[in-house]
């Protein structure tokens, strides 16, 4: 069988892109190799570690379990886009301040997932935060500082929300 390809057109971090790709190419490989968006990482290629987490049409998904061709007509946001848009600046700041990352390899996926938790804008216990992040593997931090960073960011946002400030 020869290498079947397909031309796709999608929005990545707000920018329209069009490429011809092998149908067997994963979304994460496409983002990294074809678009140079190397912030999303590959850790297992079977959907367990979460390093490849990206946002597809508003929801966090495993980039290694999606074919690039499936993202045709969709909106993809990677960590680069998330960072540039500024919407998680407080979360990033909290991660840095609490050293909620060491090697940084799990971090984009961790931030992507935490951003989805924060978007639901409701109080969570530490246990609930841990459960929400249970699909993102980190070998370096032992998770404690990550939970601290997410909890602190959530608390600050909810407080701002209560105070009515933006």
């Amino acid at each position: 069988m020869s290498e079947e390809t397909l031309t796709i057109a999608l929005a990545v971090n707000g920018e329209r892109v069009s490429r011809t790709v092998p149908v067997r190419q994963s979304l994460v490989d496409f983002l990294r190799a074809d678009l140079g968006l190397t912030g999303t990482h590959v850790g297992c290629e079977h959907g367990v570690c979460g390093a490849c987490s990206v946002r597809l049409d508003g929801a966090v998904v495993r980039g290694c379990l999606l074919l690039a061709v499936q993202a045709d007509g969709c909106e993809v946001v990677t960590i680069e886009g998330l960072a540039e848009a500024g919407g998680i600046a407080d979360l990033q700041e909290a991660f840095v301040a609490r050293n909620a990352l060491q090697c940084g390899y799990c971090t984009p996926g961790m931030l992507m997932t935490a951003a989805e938790l924060l978007a639901e804008a409701r109080p969570r216990t530490r246990e609930e935060i841990r459960t929400f992040l249970s699909g993102n593997y980190c070998r370096c931090t032992g998770y404690h500082a990550i939970v601290d960073a997410v909890a602190a960011t959530l608390e600050a946002r909810l407080a701002r929300g209560r105070e009515g400030s933006p």
């Binding site: 069988m1 079977h46 929801a59 074919l67 929400f132 699909g135």
Partner: protein
């Protein structure tokens, strides 16, 4: 771990999808959520010639209540089922099971139909559908048919679906007043495949069990209705002796297979523990 080469087609309609299935049979795979399929392709454990992407088929999506039956489209994402007020209100067993299904990112893509079609022995949804007396609608070029969940799961990763059939939707009767359900599973880590699990649905009338459907999963090759366990509590109140009798009956209903994370004897033991705990929880919930 890159997949072998395959052909890819995006189904434009339900008719298109079933026609392709009819043409290619076992050489084709349905690509829905892909959360179970893609790992097998990446690991080169499976090499279909054709992937039929059904993700754009609106006809397969949605969750709706109609005349006492909740219709869950095959493409309903786990995240949708988890958040659905219809499911929360009318199918509490399913609502209780959903947080155990994998993790956030997998739930955002994985589908109800995908879980049913794969019939992984450790999966939560097949057991719930059997406990709730659901039925599945299958469509082929030859038409539609309905298969009750209790007859759908025929063996290890084996279902009643023929290679030329597409799973369209699940029809789940709402849980009636006077019924109580409990979902429990044991997994080494949050979101892992369960090593023992029980989806229990029973009716209680005047404090006595009217109809008990304890469906065991993870220890067996397919969701297994515990008939002896059910018999042990039929017509009785869920008191200590009845619960003990039920736990003792577990070994008559189950033949655990064991696996990497649990031996067969561990699984049997855990299913007994879950039986006790689920029945005790059912009693408390019925009283509340």
């Amino acid at each position: 771990m890159k997949p072998r080469r395959f052909s890819y087609v995006r189904a434009e309609s339900l008719a298109h999808a079933v026609r392709l299935l009819g043409e290619h049979g076992d050489e084709a795979r349905i690509l829905a959520g892909g959360q179970s399929l893609m790992p097998t392709l990446n690991m080169r454990l499976s090499s279909p010639r054709l992937l039929i992407d059904i993700n754009r088929l609106e006809a397969l999506s949605g969750i709706a209540l109609r005349e006492g039956v909740v219709r869950i489209g095959a493409l309903a994402r786990h995240a949708e089922v988890l958040r659905s007020p219809v499911v929360a209100r009318h199918l509490p067993l399913l609502a209780e099971a959903m947080p155990h299904v994998a993790h956030v990112a997998v739930r955002n893509r994985g589908t109800f139909g995908g879980s049913i079609a794969l019939a992984d022995p450790a999966a939560e949804l097949p057991a719930c559908t059997v406990a709730l007396g659901a039925a599945f609608v299958l469509e082929s070029a030859g038409g539609r048919r309905e298969v009750p969940a209790e007859r759908y799961f025929t063996g290890l990763y084996e279902t009643a679906r023929r290679p030329d059939e597409l799973l369209v939707e699940a029809l789940v009767p709402v849980e009636q007043p006077g019924s109580v359900s409990v979902f429990m599973e044991l997994a080494r880590r949050q979101g892992d495949f369960a090593i023992a699990g029980l989806a229990l649905h029973l009716r209680l009338a005047a404090g006595a069990v009217g109809d008990a459907r304890p469906v065991y999963f993870a220890s067996e090759s397919r969701p297994t209705l515990g008939r002896s366990v059910a018999e042990a509590v039929m017509g009785k109140a869920l008191d200590g002796p009845a619960v003990e009798a039920a736990a003792a009956a577990v070994e008559r209903d189950l033949a655990p297979v064991g696996g990497a994370h649990a031996s067969a004897r561990l699984q049997l033991h855990l299913q007994r523990v879950l039986t006790r705990r689920a029945l005790e929880t059912a009693r408390r919930r019925a009283a509340a």
